[in-house]
Amino acid sequence: MFKGFNFFSTDELLSEEERMVRDTVRQFVTKRYLPLAAAWHNKAEFPLEVIPELAKMGLLGVTIPEKYGASGSSYYIYGLAMQELERGDSGLRSFASVQGSLVMFPIYRYGSEAQKQKWLPQLASGNKIGCFGLTEPDHGSDPGGMRTTPRKTEKGWLLNGSKMWITNATIAHIAVVCAQTDEGIRGFLVETDRKGFSQNEIKGKYSLRASNTGELIFEDCFVPDENRLPEAKGLSAPLSCLNEARYGIAWGATGAAMACYNEALKYAKSRIQFGKPIAAFQLTQHKLVEIASEIVKAQLLNHQLGRLKDAGNAKYYHISMAKRNNVHQALKAARSARTILGANGITDEYQTVRHLLNLESVYTYEGTHDIHTLIVGEYLTGSSAFR
């Protein structure tokens, strides 16, 4: 079984409880997810059957309090769980990220007590699936210019517009939708069976195939007043949700990198060329050492980020730096590991190319790599390059 990567004795940084969570999720991914990962990727389907299992383990809404049916765990534990899920597939981790950080978190943070009572337990148990609508066809990195607008009516709002690249779009029961009102950006809970609300799945993806991605379309879709998230005011609300998800991605990408490293190392030791294992060649060792070094750096970055987050001291720029670095390094690790695997590395007999393709999406979602560069750059220099 997968043993993780403990080169710098980073396991010592974990409490017994943290280690147990990590090992339990690891075992679940090894036994339950990985045997079918390639099949789900090839079918281009998110495996709905794993949702109840994720829920039973408490992986939906890891940090949301127990009184709403969720786990009430630490952010550090959330991070470890995301690392292990993405060791399986970025699509699996994306599902948990969206449900927990982009649907349950906004309801918990910005919703009314009635909204929390109504939705959080059902989302934690996996009986309801959620999606998060911020990005639009013409507004990705610049969400402030969004064109989805709600028009006030007597008892609610009429939504018009569309949202694009939405994870869980066509499997969701509820959408957290950001829209531009006269008073600024506001958040709405929109049940997906409302009249005037339709969804289309995006087909033909080469990446995140085992994840559901789609478009949300609103045509005079009526949403009652009680469905507005009362505390969500301005762009800072959706950005705070993205921060939660990006935090998990920094950990998740490290899990994907570990999977690629592990596979490439094993292959390099058993593949014989010129009478010796290719692991004995300097060029192969160089690749493996580069990947291993980046994994250790990412582990240490995640560790400190996790401790900061639990202490309430993780800033957006910390999270941007971690997401930016760890995803970039994971993508590079996947590409390098793929070259070690040679021709075998392009088939679904191996995991690495699946991770490589997935990470291409992760690199530009939840804030593109470039935008995270500019977020950190803005903080360090005091000059914004994009505002």
């Binding site: 079984m1 017994e16 409880e17 147990m20 969570v21 339990t24 075992q27 679940f28 299992e53 039973k56 383990m57 408490g58 992986l59 890891v62 127990e66 786990s71 009430g72 765990s73 534990i77 769980a81």
Partner: protein
Amino acid sequence: MNIAVCIKQTPDTETRIKLTEAKTVDESDINFILNPYDEFAVEEALKLREKFDGEVTVISLGPDRVNSAIRSALAMGADKAVRIKAENIPTDPNVTAGALATELQKGNYDLIFLGKQAIDDDHAQMPALLGAKLGIPAISVVVKLEVEGDKLTAEREIDGAHEIIECSLPAVIGAQRGLNEPRYASLKGIMKAKKIQINEIDAELSADQLQVVEFNYPPEKSPGKIVGDSADAVPELLRLLHEEAKVI
């Protein structure tokens, strides 16, 4: 329903055993886990508790490190835990059975579960030993269990068939793979397990009647033989399988 589950901590199934110069097992690099057959035992106990209410107590014997296997069972959902302190896990199953039986007698349990065997020493004696020491029925290699009132029906695997046995409670059940699908611990379960105090007790162990003289590695396998790489090699392959390997 008052249920006990006796568990053992064993090396991970993927462990490559290393021997010391004194021909004992080198434990330094071993990752210890809850004996996989005991996971079926814990799961069955939890399912019965969910159906009939009651309490599940985990009992194990061994040094401090055994607590991590106990925590795994608690994280799955067991309510209480006892560790009988011992410097080592005895070689002789009868010694362990004696200490476990003494502890089990205190608990007035309706059912006692354990794995049909531990994957390290593979003695597979514990269910029968406990049944004998406690004077109650013991059924092992159980793949299906129904409990109704003070009776149970157990289905056990025997060579080429399934045997169905009925008995009254209390009884000892040795769990076999297939009895159920053990649950994964939940985050809440793991956090709760951390707060449960393991009751650590001293016990007088009887003397080992078995003694391990030494451990040895299995003999190295001789290299395989390649007869050929085309259909022409089939007759020779058949001849060798028949005359040398004597498998066909």
